[in-house]
Structures are given as C-alpha cells and as structure tokens.
C-alpha cells in the first residue's frame, strides 16, 4: 500500500500534448481550459509563426489588404494567461504509444497523458515533369503566401492549375492586380470535388466575366522551363500556355505520417469518430488530418475552419473523458471578387434544387433537397439565408422546396 501511495505522490502529471499548432491544435488547447482542465498543456508546431488564420492567405494577404501580423488567431498574452506552453519551429518526429511519449526533432522526449494530433495537410504535388521549376508554387502556409505574393509583384502571366476554391481565390487576387490569368481544370467543370454543377457554372461565368481564361477538361501534361524557371504549361491537347507564375491548387494530402508511424488506423486521414477519438483512447485527432466515421457509418473528410474548430472542441472534451459529438451541418465560405459564398450542408446527394433570389444580380441561395428533405444551401451574397440555414439543417426543420423558393416566406419562422 505504502509503495503505490508514494509513487502517486511523486508522480508529476504528464499533461496534454498537442501536435500541430494550427487552427485545430489551438482550439484543443483553448477548449481544454474552457472545460476546466488545469494541468500542463504543450502545443507543438513545426512552423515558426504562432497559430494563424489560413483563409486570408488566398484572400486579403494576396490582395495586400492585410499585414502578416494581423493573421494570428491568438496573441502571446493569451498563451501566457491560459498557461499554454507553445513550442514553435519544432517538429514531432515520432509517437511511442506504449511509453506515452512523443519524440521531438531535437531528440527530446515529452510524456503525455493525453495526445491530440492536429497535423493538417500538405499540398498535393503534380506528378509530372517540371513540378520542381522555380515559379511553380502551392499555397498552404504563410511562407507559401509570401512567395506567391512576391511572385505576383513581378509576374505578368499567371496560370492556375486546378479550379478548386484556393485556385479560384488566387485567380481572383491575381486578376484584381491586373495580371493575365488562366485557370486549367482537368474536370469538365470547376469545383468538381466540392460543389454542384450549378454553382460551378456560376463561378465559371463570374471568372470569365472578370477576364480570366477558364479552360475546362484541360489536362496538364508538363511544365516547361527556361534556365530553371517555369515558362509555360503544356496540356494534353498539345497547347502551350505561357506563364511566369504557376500556382498549383490540386488539393491536399492529409498529414497522417505520425499516426501511421505509430499504428493508428488511417483511411485517407486519421480515422476518428464524431467525438474526435482515434482507436487509442489516449489519442484524439482533429482538422484536416482526419477522416471521420460518422454515426451513420459514412466516411467524411472535411477541410474547413469549422471542422477544425468543432473537432477541436470535441477532442478536448474526449481527452477529459467526456462526449461532445460534432454533428452540426458542415459550413464553409469563399470570397472571390465582390462575391461572398457561404455553404452549409452536403449537397452531393441532392435530387432537387430551388433558387431564392437572383443569380443575375449575384445575390441568391440555392437550396438542395433529397427525398423532400433539405440537405444543403449555397448562398451567394445572402449571408442571412446562410445563417438561418445552419439552424434549419441542425434542427432538421421541415422546409419545403416551395417555401425555399418563395422570397416572401420567412425562413427564420421555422427556427423558432
């Protein structure tokens, strides 16, 4: 008896360790304190900067309307006050689950009683010749944004490979600077992975109206260079698109290296449940690095701020043995030119769409239904529809397509 009492008294609580100091990792730390956890918290990030907002990287930072110092999600005083030890510029190289330790790149080992993985994702590279030329850039980090902003200052002709949200936002920023911009998208429409054909068509028209060349079905086969710098992008139809800057926006690869290295279940992301728990009860995972097995058994991969924040809240609760499932409808936004898009829900499986407002005036919401039930809303310059829509979806309100299309019908009446 004496032995174990002594051992307990002499034991310092290992505390919570969070790997990845981005949106999700910071949220775990913040929510642990909000849940009343009083022990040590160590937040470890490979990047030099304190945790920052990524969305402005492709928006205000490229447009030059925001300074880097304005990007921080929380400042130094916050970390002090919340007693969160922030270790930046430090990479975690391995996890030892049996010893409950993480190993840092400088050889140090840190004990954990609970561990959160928030390692985010890396930009997908193009598996083609010329991907390593100067002037071929991806956008994920502040360093990437600095490089692209610098290149935009000197560039005249920009080719964006990939018509996803980040590619479209970069195209808009470059176009606003008066540069010649071409978007090359391999699929037969923009936003092929994430939006409906209707919305994709709206964005193709928007960009073309701004003078961007939008090439669909354009499969890139090679990047040509002169003296180590990119000079053109070649497509499968034999054409060559001259460029002095190429931005590659063909998606991201969830960073699962640490999780796989220690044998956690992964499937295109670290596998977690609605409470952000992995198959090891001492380890949670949040944000872009995860794939979520939802209550219905479907596998869901989201890349959004809301996902990182909500999973972060769930993860903090789970580390303290509580259940706080993330079941809210997913939401996302994108800003291009003077058009604010806000999306809520998952439209992929819809069988009916109705419009509220006017696409011609660039102010509308597309409501998507499946078997009569609302599943998603895309709002363009209609923020109120979006905000009410979040409530409609979360409460599974019985909105009919006719009501959605009728501008005189008050949507909010169904949320009370």
């Amino acid at each position: 008896m004496g032995d174990s009492a002594q051992a307990d008294a002499g034991m310092v609580e290992a505390g919570m360790v969070i790997v990845g100091a981005g949106q999700g990792g910071l949220q775990v730390a913040e929510s642990l304190r909000a849940e009343g956890y009083d022990g040590p918290i160590t937040l470890i990030g490979e990047e030099a900067a304190t945790p920052y907002h990524r969305p402005p990287l492709s928006k205000a930072i490229l447009a030059g309307t925001m300074e880097e110092a304005q990007l921080a999600i929380r400042g130094a005083e916050f970390f002090e006050r919340q007693r969160i030890a922030l270790l930046t510029g430090m990479r975690v190289v391995a996890i030892d689950r049996s010893a409950r330790q993480v190993r840092l790149e400088d050889g140090r080992r840190l004990d954990y009683s609970g561990l959160a993985l928030a390692t985010g994702a890396r930009v997908r590279r193009l598996p083609i010749a010329g991907d390593g030329l100067d002037g071929v850039l991806g956008l994920r980090s502040l360093d990437d944004a600095r490089r692209i902003r610098g290149a935009l200052d000197r560039a005249a002709r920009v080719v964006v490979i990939g018509g996803g949200y980040i590619g479209l936002e970069v195209a808009a920023a470059a176009r606003k600077r008066g540069l010649e911009v071409t978007i090359l998208e391999a699929a037969d429409r923009l936003l092929a992975r994430s939006a409906t054909p209707f919305l994709a068509g709206f964005y193709a028209d928007l960009h073309r109206g701004q003078g961007v060349m939008v090439e669909l079905g354009a499969k890139v086969v090679a990047l040509d260079g002169e003296g180590g710098r990119v000079s053109a992008v070649r497509t499968a139809d034999g054409r060559s698109h001259p460029a002095d800057l190429v931005v590659v926006g063909v998606g991201i690869v969830p960073d699962t290296a640490l999780a796989e290295g220690c044998g956690l279940a992964c499937d295109g992301g670290v596998l977690v449940d609605d409470c952000a728990r992995t198959d090891d009860r001492a380890i949670v995972a949040v944000g872009d690095c995860t794939a979520r097995r939802t209550g219905t058994g479907a596998l869901l991969r989201l890349e959004s701020v809301q996902n990182a924040v909500e999973q972060g809240k769930s993860a903090a609760a789970a580390l303290l043995g509580r259940e706080r499932p993330f079941t809210a409808a997913p939401w996302f936004w994108s800003d291009q030119y003077d058009v604010k898009l806000q999306i809520v829900g998952l439209s992929a499986a819809h069988d009916r769409m109705v419009l509220r407002g006017s696409p011609e005036e660039r102010r509308f919401s597309a409501f998507y239904f499946r078997e009569g039930a609302l599943v998603a809303i895309d709002s363009v310059n209609r923020p109120a529809d979006h905000m009410v829509g979040r409530k409609l979806l979360d409460r599974k309100a019985a909105l009919t397509p006719d009501q959605a299309a009728d501008e005189t019908f008050p949507l909010a009446s169904l949320t009370r």
């Binding site: 907002h53 969305p55 402005p56 928006k59 205000a60 300074e67 304005q70 990007l71 921080a72 999600i73 929380r74 400042g75 005083e77 916050f78 002090e80 006050r81 919340q82 701020v305 809301q306 924040v309 936004w333 800003d335 604010k340 806000q342 310059n381 209609r382 923020p383 109120a384 905000m387 009410v388």
Partner: protein, 107 residues
C-alpha cells in the same frame, strides 16, 4: 493607434492598444480578450466577433456593410442598436478611448 476598453460579459475590463488599420477583433484576440472568438478570421462569415459599441460613438463609425448588416441579424446573443461585428471596424486615432462591451455568447 487607439486605446480601446473591452468589457467582458462578466465585467472584466481590459484596455488594449490597437494599431491603426487593424480591426477591433484583431486587437482583442491578440491581447487575450476572451469574449471574442473570431472564427472566420475577419471574413464577415461567422458572427462570432459580435460586440456592443459605446452608444456615444456608434454613430460616428462607418455604417455596417450589407453583409455585416445581415450577419448581425444572426448573432448568438441579442442584437441591440449598438451591435457591430468587431472584425468590420478598422481602428483609427478617432477611436481612442472607445469602450466596447462583449455579449454573453458568441456561438
């Protein structure tokens, strides 16, 4: 630069120096003011940076944009006549001495 006082819902007061050109939201979160979340980073897309601006000064601020106006209709706490989204208010010397109260909840 302006000195802005943030008063949390529980009464805690913090005086923050905010550089010209920054938003109230940026000044607050970087100084550890807890009552502002700022989830969307200032894109006017989340309404988790809701605040109540000093009644005396509210009319001297540039009015809310259409987007802010609509987002203000959907805040987690009650909207009042002096409600604003703090990420949409840029700081200038004219705001020195501003007092901002924070709502009970942001989300």
């Amino acid at each position: 630069m302006a000195k802005v006082t943030f008063i949390e819902h529980d009464g805690l007061e913090q005086v923050v120096d905010i550089p010209t050109g920054w938003t109230l939201m940026q000044g607050a979160v970087q100084s550890g003011v807890a009552g502002i979340e700022g989830e969307c980073g200032g894109s006017c897309a989340c309404a988790t940076c809701h605040c109540y601006v000093d009644e005396a000064l509210v009319d001297s601020l540039p009015p809310p944009s259409e987007t802010e106006e609509e987002m203000l209709g959907c805040t987690a706490s009650e909207r009042r006549s002096n409600s604003r989204l703090s990420c949409q208010i840029r700081v200038s010397d004219a705001l020195d001495g501003l007092v901002v109260r924070l709502p009970e909840a942001q989300s």
